[in-house]
C-alpha cells in the first residue's frame, strides 16, 4: 500500500509535464453507426492542392492560413476556410456539415471531432465586401 502511494505521489510530480496532452487524444468520437464517407464533389475542377495533399494535410494548411490571417491580416484565398466552404458546400443543404456534408461525412468516418463550427459558419454567405453597406 505504501509503495503504491509513493508511486502515486511520484506520478503527481509529473503533473506539470505534458501529461495533459493525453486529453487532446481523448476527444471522443461520435457513438453509433459508422457511415462510410460520402465525398460528393459537386463542383468538378482542380482543388487548390493535389488531392492526396488535401486529404493528408488540409488541417495543416488551414491552421497555417488561420494564424496568418488572424495575426498578420494575410487574406489570400487558396487556403482560406471560407473558400473551402464556398466551393464544397452541398447544393442541397448549402452547408459542409450535416448528413453527407463534405467536411462532416469524412470526419464522422475518421472519428475526428470538428470544433470549427462552434464559431465558423459552415454555409457560404453573402460576404460584405469592403466599403459596401449591405
Amino acid at each position: 500500500m505504501r509503495a503504491i502511494a509513493i508511486a502515486v505521489l511520484w506520478g503527481l510530480t509529473l503533473v506539470p509535464a505534458p501529461a495533459f496532452m493525453a486529453f487532446a487524444a481523448a476527444q471522443a468520437a461520435e457513438p453509433g453507426r459508422t457511415p462510410l464517407p460520402a465525398i460528393a464533389i459537386e463542383k468538378p475542377g482542380q482543388c487548390v492542392e493535389p488531392k492526396d495533399v488535401m486529404r493528408r494535410d488540409h488541417m495543416k494548411l488551414l491552421k497555417h492560413q488561420r494564424d496568418k490571417t488572424l495575426h498578420q491580416g494575410i487574406r489570400t484565398k487558396p487556403h482560406s476556410l471560407n473558400e473551402c466552404i464556398s466551393c464544397h458546400a452541398s447544393q442541397k443543404t448549402g452547408s459542409v456539415t450535416g448528413a453527407g456534408g463534405f467536411c462532416q461525412s469524412c470526419h464522422d468516418y475518421a472519428a475526428v471531432k470538428l470544433d470549427c463550427w462552434d464559431c465558423h459558419q459552415p454555409k457560404p454567405g453573402q460576404k460584405t465586401a469592403a466599403g459596401v453597406k449591405p
Binding site: 471560407n82 466552404i85 462552434d118 464559431c119 459558419q121 466599403g131 453597406k133
Partner: protein
C-alpha cells in the same frame, strides 16, 4: 473573382467621391490603398478612430445597429448577457449638467491591459494596432474582461449558428470590437463609421494615425482631443473630441 475586383474598384471610387463632398480637409473615409492580400500588416500603420461627440446624437444608435448587422451580433435582447461590441453612452457632468453622448467600444490601446493579462496569448495586438482575440486559443477565463478599463469585451454566453462567414464567433470565448478588421484589410472602414455617415451625422472618422497626411491625423493636430482614462497611459487608438 474578376467580378469581385470590379465591384471593389467601383466602391472605392464611389467612396472617394463621397469623401470629396465632405467639408474641406476632412474626408470621411480614408481611401487607404488596400494592401495586397498576401502581405502582412505592419506597424507603419496605426489604425485609429476620432469621435466628434458634438456631432453624436443622444438616442441615435445607427453605429450600434450597423455593428450588430456586420458582425452577426444581432440586436441586444438580453442586455445582461448579449455581446455588445459598441454601445452608446450618455454622460452628464455632475457639476454643470452638461450632457454628452458618445459611442464606446474597444479603444485599441497601444498598451492593452487585456493583452497583458491573457494567460494563453489569445488576446493580442496586431502590428497595425488592432486589438483582437484569437478564439482558437481563448479558454474563456474572462480575466481580460476584469482588466479592461472600458468594459469593451463581452463573453459569448450562448451557442450561436448565425455568424457572418467573415466574423466567426461562438460560445465560451471572449470577444470585442475588431475595428471591422475584415473590412479594413481590404481597404474599407468599420461598419459603424459608415453607418454614422450614412445617417448624416459624420461623427466618426477612421484612418491611419501614423500618416501625417491622413484626415484623422490632421484633425487631431487641429482640435483638442481626449483619450478616455488618459491617466492609465494606455495610448489609445480611439480619440474623442468635445469631452
Amino acid at each position: 473573382m474578376s467580378g469581385d475586383m470590379n465591384r471593389r474598384g467601383f466602391i472605392a471610387a464611389g467612396a472617394a467621391l463621397a469623401g470629396l463632398t465632405l467639408a474641406p480637409g476632412i474626408r470621411l473615409i480614408e481611401i487607404a490603398s488596400a494592401k495586397p492580400d498576401n502581405e502582412p500588416v505592419t506597424s507603419k500603420v496605426r489604425w485609429g478612430l476620432l469621435i466628434d461627440t458634438t456631432r453624436c446624437q443622444s438616442g441615435c444608435t445607427e453605429c450600434v445597429a450597423a455593428c450588430g448587422k456586420e458582425n452577426g451580433l444581432g440586436e441586444v435582447k438580453k442586455p445582461r448577457t448579449d455581446a455588445q461590441w459598441i454601445r452608446k453612452i450618455d454622460l452628464k457632468e455632475l457639476k454643470t449638467g452638461r450632457a454628452v453622448s458618445l459611442p464606446m467600444m474597444c479603444q485599441h490601446c497601444a498598451n492593452p491591459p487585456c493583452v497583458d493579462v491573457c494567460p494563453t496569448g489569445a488576446s493580442f495586438k496586431r502590428a497595425d494596432g488592432i486589438v483582437l482575440v484569437d478564439r482558437h486559443i481563448c479558454i474563456g477565463c474572462r480575466y481580460c474582461m476584469m482588466a479592461c478599463p472600458y468594459k469593451a469585451r463581452s463573453f459569448v454566453h450562448e451557442p450561436h449558428s448565425d455568424q457572418n462567414p467573415e466574423v466567426p464567433r461562438g460560445q465560451g470565448c471572449v470577444e470585442g470590437c475588431t475595428l471591422c478588421v475584415h473590412r479594413v484589410d481590404r481597404g474599407g472602414a468599420p461598419a459603424c463609421v459608415e453607418a454614422c455617415a450614412a445617417a448624416g451625422h459624420n461623427a466618426m472618422l477612421f484612418g491611419d494615425l501614423n500618416d501625417p497626411e491622413s484626415a484623422i491625423a490632421k484633425r487631431i493636430r487641429e482640435v483638442k482631443t481626449t483619450q478616455v482614462r488618459a491617466d492609465l497611459k494606455l495610448d489609445l487608438g480611439v480619440r474623442y473630441e468635445g469631452i
